[in-house]
Every structure is written in structure tokens, then in C-alpha cells.
């Protein structure tokens, strides 16, 4: 008979069996036994000690999305478990694979308001793909195998394993088998041939087709299939926020980003298109604007692995229930070679107007207040300084939209942002995880002065690990995106948005991170040069014009073809 081991030891072995080599975590009372076992595995399981549990989970998200692997988190019970709830919700809505191990009090103390006891399963059920409490050590192999299978397959998502003290301390016979089947769960449905035929026929008849590329394209590794299909049938491609970097920025068929602050052409042309091929995206309200005025002329083909997305936000003409890659690879031979020159050329007007009326003032400002900089010029400068090859990590708000608009991509999986949940404070820890998950790549983190201060304690993690994360604070001393809405829609009443900020450069230096202020445009080139040539972490605190606003804009309640160029003017195709 084999020698029995503790549940904590079994958890370490189970993680190794699932190919884990990195854990983001923070110890505490109810997880100490596991941490004690982990000590013996420190050569194979690298533990990244973040400075707050929210930092741990966002770092794991960044790691998962940059590496394509499952992000693993371990924290203690009670407040630690509640501190990861934001990250769980974020990962759930942005389809990020995570396995989060939360310590839990002993089984006898459950439900008694014991010290640091909280109902983790009850709290996390609505924001996880699966949540399970391990009470008996014998359940560990099954629960961990199931957790990794569920988190990483189908539409990926976060899983919680609530690891009671009894399960950590109790003994079991070690035996591990990975799982690749759950009766109630089909993560890899085959596309229905009839749906494929309908879709192919629609595409082959289309005169004004448009592809919308969502996050699902990258998750399924369908980039090549998508580009091949677009090239064969000569179809313009627009990306959602999380779909950015699917197709290189300079690809002739890439028509830019959709959504509230997306590019004019793909938004406007959505309502002229006769066939829309929506791949791995979910028609979020930020993408569709007013739904009853969205794509009125189009037959919509919706490809998604999550069947509950069909008809949830928008009725499609045809839906294909499968992995984006399987669907696109199956469609490719069924789609005719075509040319849509006239349709493609018709995007030029909107592109031209956007370049001259919106982008020019961001990229080459001549009239900023107090010689401050504009966000677009900073983003573009840094993008180019990295050869457009860096992983972009953003926070939420104006910095996010400006980074998404002005950063350029040459490689896939290069855009990490909190899309669905819009979590301020996501950026800095996510950038840490991205750098650990993709160590050979440059990681540039853009955030506002507000979001930076939500998780700036993670500078400690960067210092600790000596991580070469490049941090750019687009600092306008305001909660800029709310300020923009207040200016545009609330009569300029700046309720609770001005920020009195500390000296961010001093803060960075206190953590041993090189940092400098960029007060005006004359200092930008030198500072960016020093940042990109630095071998370590680097922080730029950039003085951004307070009134800098993100345009174009599909204002809330507007249709996607009602696009503001600035506070006073609307895009008109007849201009």
C-alpha cells in the first residue's frame, strides 16, 4: 500500500501534474498548511508574493492572458477570499482561465462565524465558472483535475477551490488522473454542417461583408484562420477591445476598433454592412450602442463557443456553436475567393476624417494648455519605441481607450485590459503577471493617476522580483473619463473627480524603481528612450492636458453611426 500524504502535499503534486510552475499568492492563517508544503516545492512551484490579494488575482489574469496557461492563485480565507472577488468577476466576464485556491477554516467551524470564515462558495458562485469546497482530502485529485479542465477549456473562466483545513491536514493515498470529460459539459462542440453552409452562402452572396473579431479568436488560436478567411473573401476586419492584436495593425484589411471610442469607419460601416461575421464576441453594449439601430441592413453570423451568447444581446441570422478556430477553418474552403474593392474603398472617407479631425490633434498637438501632452502622442511614441511589438497592458478609463486607439500591434495576445468589468487598478498587477508569463516580451503598462493609486502597492512586487515592467502614468490629476462625461453630459459639474496627487516619481524611487517626470513634449523622446533602453522597471509620470478627451465617441444611447468627432461636431459621410 502506498504511503499516505497530507492534503496540502497532494495539492502541490496536483498543481505540478497540471503543469503549473507559477502561483500568485498571499499566505494567511487558514492556508498555512498548504504554504508549509509549498516550501518543499519551491524549486518547482514558484510563488509570487504580491502585496494584496487583488494584486495576486490580477497578476494571475495577466499571466494567463499573456501565456495562454491557467493562472493560479492561492490566498487565505475570509478577507483574502473576498479580496479576490473583483478579479474573479473580471476573469469571468473576460473569459480568463484561473484556478483560485482559497484557504478555509476547519469543517466543524463552517457556518459558525469562526475567525476569518466567510461563505466563499456562496460569494463566488455568481462570478465563477465553477466553485467547489474541498472538505475531504480524498477529493483533492478529482477537484483539482476538474478545476483545471473546466478553467482552461470551452469558454475559459475562473474556478474557485475552497480548501478547508481538514482537507489540507488530512491524509490520502496519492493517485492523480487528469480529466478530459464531464458529462454535463461539452467544451469543444463541432460546428453544425448546416449552419456552416448557411453562413458560407451568406458570405458568398455578400456585397458589403464585415468581420468582427473578438477575444474568442485569440483564445482559440484562430488568428491565422481569420486572416486567411478575410483575405480569401476580401472582407474588412474590425476588432473589439479584447480582440485587438488579433490581426496586425498595419494589415490592409484591418479597419480598426469597434465600440464607443472605436474608429469611425468600422462603427459607421457596421450599419451599411449586408453580412456581419461576428467571431468570438458577445455584442456588448459598448460595441453595439443603441441596439435597435444596430446593423439594420446586415444578416449576422454569430460564431461562439458559448451557446448562451446566441440571442443574449442580439438576434443573429445564423449562429455557429463552436470554437472560433474550428468554425473558421471549416468555413475557409466553403467561402469563395472574392473582391470587395468598392466596399473596402468606401472606408477611406471615414478613415481620412478621423485622421485629420481627431487623430492629428492627439498625435501632433500644438495648442495644449500649459504645454502638457496629449495621451495619444505618448501612447504612439512608446508603441513605436518598442517596434510595436510590446504587450500593452492598460487600466480603465481614458488611458485604456487612448492606449487601445493609438498603440500598434504586430503580434497576437498583445493587449491586456479589463474589458467587460472595467476594473480600475487592474493594470499594474496584470502587467506583473504578463511579464512573468511572457518574460521575453516588453511589457508596457498605461494607467491613469486614479487607477495607479488603486493598486500601487504592487510596485513592491516589481521591486522584489526585479521585473522589467515599463509603467506610464498618463496623469491629468483627474479621474479623466468621468471628467469627460461630466464635461459632455453633466454640464461641467466636476463632482468628485479632481485628484490631488502625491509625487509619483518619489513613490517609484522609494521602491527602487527608476522614474522621471515628463512635463512637456520636449521631454518625451528622451524619457521614452531612457525607459525603453533601461534593463529594469521604469516609471514615467506624464503631464497630460486636463481637458484631453477621447474621441471619436458613440455617446451613450446613440447608434453606432452617430459619431461625435468632438463635443460639437458629428461625423457625416457627405462631408
Amino acid at each position: 500500500m502506498s504511503k499516505k500524504i497530507t492534503g496540502s502535499e497532494a495539492m502541490c503534486r496536483a498543481l505540478l501534474a497540471e503543469g503549473v510552475d507559477t502561483i500568485f499568492g498571499y499566505p494567511g492563517g487558514a492556508i498555512m498548511s498548504f504554504y508549509d508544503s509549498l516550501y518543499g516545492y519551491s524549486d518547482r512551484l514558484r510563488h509570487i508574493l504580491c502585496r494584496h490579494e487583488q494584486g495576486c488575482i490580477h497578476a494571475a489574469q495577466g499571466y494567463a492572458r499573456a501565456s495562454g496557461k491557467v493562472g493560479v492563485v492561492s490566498v487565505t480565507s475570509g478577507p483574502a477570499a473576498t479580496n479576490v472577488v473583483t478579479g474573479l468577476s473580471d476573469a469571468n466576464i473576460d473569459s480568463t482561465p484561473l484556478v483560485v485556491i482559497t484557504g478555509q477554516v476547519g469543517v466543524d467551524s463552517l457556518g459558525t462565524d469562526a475567525f476569518q470564515e466567510t461563505d466563499v462558495i456562496g460569494i463566488t458562485l455568481p462570478v465563477t465558472k465553477w466553485a467547489y469546497q474541498i472538505q475531504d482530502p480524498e477529493e483533492i485529485p478529482w477537484a483539482v483535475a476538474r478545476a483545471f479542465y473546466i478553467a482552461s477549456t470551452g469558454r475559459p473562466g475562473p474556478v474557485v477551490l475552497d480548501f478547508t483545513k481538514d482537507a489540507q491536514l488530512g491524509l490520502l493515498d496519492w493517485d492523480y488522473e487528469r480529466i478530459d470529460y464531464i458529462r454535463s459539459y461539452d467544451p469543444d462542440p463541432e460546428p453544425n454542417p448546416a449552419d456552416l453552409s448557411t453562413a458560407a452562402a451568406l458570405i458568398n452572396r455578400a456585397e458589403r461583408p464585415l468581420i468582427l473579431a473578438g477575444h474568442g479568436v485569440m483564445i482559440s488560436g484562430a488568428e491565422e484562420a481569420l486572416i486567411s478567411l478575410a483575405e480569401k473573401a476580401d472582407i474588412p476586419v474590425a476588432a473589439t477591445l479584447l480582440g485587438l492584436s488579433t490581426i496586425p495593425s498595419d494589415h490592409p484589411l484591418n479597419k480598426g476598433m469597434l465600440g464607443m471610442h472605436g474608429n469611425i469607419a468600422p462603427n459607421f460601416k457596421t450599419n451599411e454592412a449586408d453580412v456581419i461575421v461576428a467571431v468570438g464576441m458577445r455584442f456588448d453594449d459598448r460595441v453595439t450602442g443603441r441596439k435597435d439601430a444596430y446593423a439594420p441592413n446586415a444578416k449576422i453570423i454569430h460564431i461562439d463557443i458559448d451557446r448562451s451568447e446566441f440571442g443574449k444581446n442580439l438576434k443573429a441570422h445564423t449562429s455557429i456553436h463552436s470554437d472560433a478556430r474550428r468554425a473558421l477553418e471549416a468555413l475557409l474552403p466553403m467561402v469563395n475567393k472574392a473582391s470587395h474593392k468598392e466596399w473596402l474603398d468606401s472606408f477611406a472617407h471615414a478613415e481620412q476624417v478621423e485622421a485629420t479631425e481627431v487623430m492629428e490633434r492627439e498625435l501632433h498637438p500644438t495648442d495644449t494648455e500649459g504645454n502638457a501632452l496629449r495621451m495619444g502622442q505618448v501612447v504612439r511614441k512608446i508603441s513605436e519605441a518598442t517596434g510595436n511589438e510590446a504587450i500593452l497592458v492598460t487600466d480603465v478609463g481614458q488611458n485604456q481607450m487612448m492606449a487601445a486607439r493609438y498603440f500598434k500591434f504586430t503580434r497576437s495576445k498583445s493587449m491586456l485590459t479589463s474589458g467587460g468589468l472595467g476594473t480600475m487598478g487592474f493594470c499594474l498587477p496584470a502587467a506583473i503577471g504578463a511579464k512573468i508569463g511572457a518574460p521575453s516580451r516588453e511589457v508596457v503598462a498605461f494607467m491613469g493617476d486614479g487607477g495607479f493609486q488603486m493598486t500601487l502597492q504592487e510596485l513592491g512586487t516589481i521591486m522584489d522580483l526585479g521585473l522589467a515592467v515599463k509603467i506610464v502614468i498618463l496623469n491629468n490629476n483627474f479621474l479623466g473619463n468621468v471628467r469627460q462625461w461630466q464635461e459632455l453630459f453633466f454640464g461641467g459639474r466636476f463632482s468628485a473627480t479632481p485628484l490631488r496627487n502625491p509625487d509619483f516619481v518619489m513613490i517609484a524611487r522609494a521602491y527602487g524603481i527608476e522614474a522621471e517626470n515628463v512635463a512637456d513634449a520636449s521631454q518625451l523622446d528622451g524619457a521614452v528612450e531612457r525607459m525603453t533602453s533601461s534593463k529594469g522597471a521604469y516609471l514615467l509620470n506624464v503631464n497630460i492636458e486636463t481637458t484631453d478627451k477621447v474621441f471619436p465617441m458613440v455617446a451613450p444611447g446613440s447608434a453606432v453611426d452617430e459619431i461625435m468627432l468632438d463635443p460639437k461636431r458629428r461625423y457625416s459621410p457627405a462631408e
Binding site: P126, Y181, Y185, R307, G311
Partner: protein, 187 residues
């Protein structure tokens, strides 16, 4: 799509796993849908549980809800039915002071007409049971009110479909084909 609200029954087939009822009811709560009744029990298939929810809502909303319920791990299938598609039943218990009933000349008629039965009689109270649709158990309630009902409880709806096809069996066949394919692949 019908937008008009009416009563629907949602039938969910699940594995026997902890916390599923909670996970499913969260989906209703999130959309502000009030569950009118719930019941759960074994199904005709061994190891598979069956839950019944009744709600007042519109078909379009509930079809989205069905999608989200089916997305839960360990949920096998969920179905949406209108009242005419199922045979359904509820059970109600009424506890009434015995003395008041003894004074009633029509007691026999009441029990007979309503097809109710008496489960227990003590000096103090009598327990009457009736199964039927809600309107029927309610009608008896209205009648017994005059005798000062001390306690009353109605169960959740239970149902079976009128459909000749057992959809859950099809699902299980599909799932086992999926397992066979997996096993063949791994050979």
C-alpha cells in the same frame, strides 16, 4: 417572440452535486425574476436529479435564462414549458381546529367534492390534504377559511411532460457518444 408575461415551468436535469440549486437560483435573482415555486427530486434516470421552477415572465427572457442555466457545470439540460405542455400537480396541507369541523354539517360534502382526504384527527386539530392545481388547492383554502385554518402549506409544482420524446435521454446518449470518442482518441 412573445413578450407577454405568463406562467412558465422550467425543468432542469442535473448531476447530484452540492450547491447547484444555489447556482441556478442566482441566475433568476440576477435578472430580478421571482421564483414562484421550486421543487427538486430524483428523476426517472438513476443519479440524475430534476428541479422544477415556476415563474411568471416572458418567453424571450426565460429562453436566455435557460441558456445560462445550461451553461452551469453539472447541469445536463434545462427546458421551458407552458402549462399546456405538461401534466403538473401540487399538494396542500390544511390544519384546522377539530371542534370547528365537528360543528360543520357539510364536512363530508366538502371532502368529497374537493377530492380531499383527512390525514390525521386529534381532539385539537385535523389535517386535511389535497392535491391539485393551485386554483384547486386555493379553492379549498377559501372554503376552509371559515373554520380558522391554523396552518397551511402548498408544495412546489411537480411536473412531467406530455411530449412523446424524452429529451434528457437524447442528451445522455449524445454525452456517452462524446465519451466514446474521447476514449477512442486516447487509445
Amino acid at each position: 417572440m412573445e413578450k407577454q408575461k405568463k406562467r412558465f415551468t422550467i425543468v432542469v436535469f442535473t448531476e447530484n452535486q452540492v450547491g447547484l440549486l444555489n447556482r441556478i437560483s442566482i441566475i433568476f435573482t440576477r435578472r430580478g425574476l421571482n421564483i414562484e415555486s421550486v421543487s427538486a427530486s430524483a428523476s426517472a434516470v438513476s443519479d440524475i436529479h430534476k428541479m422544477n421552477f415556476t415563474l411568471f415572465s416572458d418567453r424571450e427572457t426565460l429562453e436566455k435564462v435557460i441558456g445560462q442555466i445550461e451553461k452551469c457545470i453539472d447541469v445536463l439540460r434545462a427546458f421551458l414549458y407552458t402549462d399546456d405542455e405538461i401534466v403538473y400537480q401540487e399538494i396542500a396541507l390544511y390544519k384546522v381546529p377539530t371542534q370547528r369541523l365537528l360543528d360543520e354539517k357539510n364536512l363530508e360534502r366538502i371532502i368529497r367534492v374537493h377530492n380531499a382526504r383527512i390525514l390525521e384527527i386529534t381532539r385539537d386539530y385535523t389535517v386535511i390534504e389535497k392535491t391539485g392545481h393551485e386554483s384547486e388547492t386555493q379553492a379549498l383554502y377559501e372554503l376552509l377559511k371559515q373554520y380558522d385554518i391554523q396552518q397551511f402549506m402548498r408544495s412546489g409544482r411537480i411536473s412531467v411532460t406530455k411530449s412523446p420524446t424524452e429529451h434528457i435521454n437524447h442528451y445522455l446518449e449524445e454525452a456517452s457518444r462524446r465519451l466514446n470518442r474521447k476514449e477512442e482518441q486516447s487509445k
